[in-house]
Symmetry: C2
Amino acid sequence: MIMALDPGNILKAHDLKHTRQRVRVLEEISHGQSAVSQPELEKKLGKEIDRVTLYRILNAYEEKGIVHKIMDANGTANYAICSSACTAHNHHDEHVHFNCTNCNKIFCLELTIPEIKMPEGFKAKTVSFTAYGLCNKCNKEK
Amino acid sequence: MIMALDPGNILKAHDLKHTRQRVRVLEEISHGQSAVSQPELEKKLGKEIDRVTLYRILNAYEEKGIVHKIMDANGTANYAICSSACTAHNHHDEHVHFNCTNCNKIFCLELTIPEIKMPEGFKAKTVSFTAYGLCNKCNKEK
DNA sequence: TTCATAAATGCAATTTAGTTGCAAATATAC
DNA sequence: GTATATTTGCAACTAAATTGCATTTATGAA
């Protein structure tokens, strides 16, 4: 069943009004193979969308479970489209991320994070696993 | 062999001059059981050390492998003393971190991160594993 | 102990990230 | 087409982080 990424559907499904700005943000986030950083988005969309609006849209998307937010090694926010399994209240983002230390891009890998038993008293609700190194492209170029 | 944390030794061993400011930062980072956030450090040391100097000291420590930097869920930097196995060029920080979503503290757990096979072309140099949830203290209080 | 020098610090100014309040614009449902 | 609640853009603000430069300080040699 292929029915990927119709912005209109995604927005309607999450009770968000269909606006030019929201569609543009969805497009930018979804059209690559890696996550997009907040600065990249701002640079790309800064002329068409106000900075503040961008922040608000990204927050709304994250709360609704439309995108997930990944912090890179510098503390910069990156955004990627969630798999269809994500919903606002059951946000399954438990796959491995790869953060390239050269181009700084973040990739969502199709690998599940292994379970780890926490020490007495500590209760893990979610986990994150990030590998740092060179991505396929940067590896070739060196 | 117990010979822990003599700031003088640590600094000399890494070719860093012994200054009042550097010693104070080392003290603050090492005297707790959890990592210390940049804002905490600034609050604690702001009267004795200039903000900029604090940033520079923390960066130097990280580069030398004296401390390791852990980003919490908000993109805030946290610092913890490295185990003795860390050096500037072989920075072994491959244990699991626990980030409490209530008090926001970060704990270094004595758990090794399981190995994961990367996809073709991706070469991981280091990995990070962070669990989010309630720490032992916050669990009790609820 | 004094002195020279390279390194570290503090300060001022700047850049970048993120937030808040409010008025104007606009998507949707009737 | 119109009413209304939502969204957007703007201005102003707070906080985080960086840069350049003058001053101070740690260290090693005389």
